[in-house]
């Protein structure tokens, strides 16, 4: 699995290098101004010149996204579990979950800044909000969609709802939970960046906003590249955990 993952990453890095090379040639031949599109080499130089700056700003965004992710997926799992156990709760909670999904994050982000201030709290809240829906749907479907024969086997043994939840529903929902978590992890990063645009003094979102205002596109693309690398790292980590936990499921074998 590790060999395959390393090969995949190498191929992706090579493709990115080829693309960067082509862009470099285009920028130089066409003499594209740096305030419109920076040469990939200047982005690389900017990153190498000041790695601490990007690392510290990235750490702020990652921490906000991580807390938002943990809060969002935990809340979504609880709501999904309640919905999976009760039709009445499903009817009551599902429209609210859809409402959360339909709410444009960009529109409500300034409100969160107004309510929670300029610190990390509104960023964490936005990241939590944006991760909520994919996870709640996956948790709900995964916890409800259990093998009827296995459910009947446990019910015949007079297993309690908690025992059915523990021994059947949670393990059988893991493929769904992983899919939800994978989508949510990427969304959490986007949520944190968007939230930083509406009022922040730190983070990659703010770096992008300020660089854009200053027409400093090398810094802007540098920040975007760092975000892409974080996204790749998140997906690699998710795949690694998935292979270990879902070894019994086609999803785990597919990832491997």
């Amino acid at each position: 699995m590790r060999t395959r993952l390393a090969t995949d990453l190498l191929i992706a890095a090579l493709a990115l290098a080829v693309l960067a090379g082509l862009l470099e040639i285009w920028v130089r031949i066409a003499a594209v101004p740096s305030y419109l599109f920076p040469a990939p080499s200047s982005v690389l130089v900017r990153l190498v010149e000041d790695p601490t700056f990007f690392a510290l700003e990235a750490a702020v965004t990652v921490i906000e996204a991580t807390f938002g992710f943990l809060i969002g997926v935990s809340a979504a799992f609880i709501v999904g579990a309640l919905m999976a156990h009760s039709r009445a709760l499903e009817r009551a909670l599902y429209p609210l979950a859809v409402l959360v999904k339909l709410t444009p994050i960009v529109a409500v982000a300034p409100l969160f800044t107004l309510w929670f201030g300029f610190g990390s709290a509104p960023k964490v809240a936005i990241a939590a909000l944006i991760t909520f829906f994919p996870m709640v749907v996956n948790a709900f479907v995964g916890l409800r969609d259990v093998d009827p024969q296995e459910l009947a086997f446990l019910q015949v043994l007079d297993a309690s709802r908690w025992e059915v939840f523990r021994t059947l529903r949670v393990p059988s929902s893991l493929p769904y939970l992983f899919s939800g978590a994978r989508i949510s992890a990427n969304l959490a990063l986007i949520g944190a960046v968007v939230a930083e645009w509406t009022g922040a003094d730190r983070g990659l979102g703010r770096v992008i906003l300020v660089a854009n205002a200053n027409l400093d596109l090398a810094t802007l693309f540098g920040a975007v590249l760092v975000l892409v690398l974080i996204g790749v790292a998140v997906n690699v980590a998710a795949s690694t955990v998935e292979v270990r936990v879902l070894h019994w499921h086609p999803l785990g074998q597919e990832t491997a």
């Binding site: 024969q149 086997f153 007079d158 309690s160 059947l168 499921h249």
Partner: protein, 246 residues
Amino acid sequence: MLPTIAVRDAAARYGAREVLRGVAFEVAPGEVVAVVGRSGVGKTTLLRLLSGLLQPAAGMVAVDGAPVGVARSRKAIGLVGQDARLHPWRTVRRNVSLPFEVNVDDTADFALADEWLRKTGLSGAADRYPRELSGGMRQRVALARALVLRPRVLLLDEPLGALDELTREDLRGELARLWTSLEGAVVYVTHDLDEAVLLADRVLVLAGDPASIVTTVPVAFARPRTEKLRRRADFAALVDLVRSML
């Protein structure tokens, strides 16, 4: 002698639709009863009544003289379905020991689980996962899992239905061998009339709409029965008799 299973004038409904009406029969300790009927007649519904998963709309179902709920609470009912997918995240050994983990706070008895794995010829597969097993092996695991607590009632819902003929033959012999070691009652639902006559002491024919037991055909062939029995004329005649009742 108190029957292990007693069904008295039982009815079953799904909403407004009555599926079973006036179902009545008994199963004695150690007896194997096959239930046959056309597709969709209500065979699985009858098993749901017997397992307590469905409450009778009328009448009653008792196990050892008590309501079926009491038997469930004592983990005295074992159930095997058609296509055993088991708990795919558990090894074979942990699947077989699953019944210890629910209802009563038993400690997982791996020694007993291993004993049943040995009885079902699965000792070598104890640490494997269900996806690594053939359909026949998975069905053996399902059987071991249902029998590990030595239930008073074993309910089988077309357990060989998804298997090829050779595997079915193997498992038929295995089933007969395993349940003779039980003192409880076995109810075996199948659409295969040969299988019903080969395995059962009595064949109950379920027919009608709503369905009821229209006849009971005793099977007097001596045990142990082998596949050779199927080639005998009196066996074929009995199968034809059951078929004519459907």
